[in-house]
């Protein structure tokens, strides 16, 4: 199930560490701290993370797949906490919500996951410019 990242030009997974450590836990799940990435070809460009300790799984995607200009600004407190100094040291992934059905699928632009590529340290952060974005941004345009 856990396919390796593919190198064909049409399939380019984002760089992610194999595991992430969300020291404070995701916002509603304080105990869910360690997650493993699953990159399965059939779900591209969506990735899955599964919690290593609790039965909890999320679907994530990169902002480039979302129909929006997304330029989150992170606080220096958040960047410092994750040991980040410059942009090429982290990846930003968005949590997908499929709860309301396929056509109503959304991503959370106000609570992205900020991940240190080298250490796997991660945090669900609210960007400083959160007012520009929605926590339920539609992924698919109207038919």
């Amino acid at each position: 199930m856990n396919a390796d990242p593919l190198t064909t030009p049409e399939i380019a997974w984002p760089k992610v560490p194999p595991k992430i450590f969300v020291t404070e836990g995701l916002l509603p799940f304080a105990n869910a701290k360690e997650f493993v990435f699953f990159r399965d070809k059939k779900y591209f460009p969506l990735l899955r993370i599964e919690c290593a300790t609790v039965n909890l799984s999320f679907v994530l995607t990169e902002p480039k797949w979302v129909p929006v200009e997304y330029q989150p600004v992170f606080s220096t407190a958040d960047l410092t906490e994750l040991g980040l100094r410059q942009e090429d040291e982290y990846v930003v992934l968005l949590i997908v919500n499929l709860n309301r059905g396929l056509e109503e699928a959304t991503v959370n632009l106000t609570g992205p996951l900020l991940i240190n590529l080298k250490t796997g340290a991660a945090k669900q952060v609210v960007p400083l410019n959160y007012a520009n974005y929605s926590c339920r941004h539609k992924l698919l345009k109207e038919k």
Binding site: F29, Y43, R48, E62, T76, V126, L140
Partner: protein, 83 residues
């Protein structure tokens, strides 16, 4: 919880460099002015609650993986924006 009484124009200081000032009272509304360093995120508490609820609602059950696959196909049909 610490409870302080303040009048319009008065302020409280949190830590070394955060100031919260009561600017105006208007019925049951209070207008606050906040001075804080750029590194501190200042949020309305409802926003954090909204992000929390949205994250909770986004947890995926194994039965929903077919939906994930359908969504991935739809996304692949759209052109990925250049990074």
């Amino acid at each position: 919880m610490l409870v302080l009484k303040r009048k319009a124009g008065e302020a409280i200081i949190i830590g070394d460099n955060i100031e919260v000032r009561v600017l105006r009272l208007d019925g049951d509304h209070v207008r606050l002015g906040i001075i804080a360093p750029q590194m501190v995120t200042v949020l309305r508490s409802e926003l954090l609650e909204e992000v929390r609820n949205e994250t909770q609602a986004s947890a995926v059950m194994p039965a929903e993986l077919s939906q994930v696959q359908l969504l991935s196909q739809r996304l692949k049909g759209l052109t990925a924006k250049k990074k």
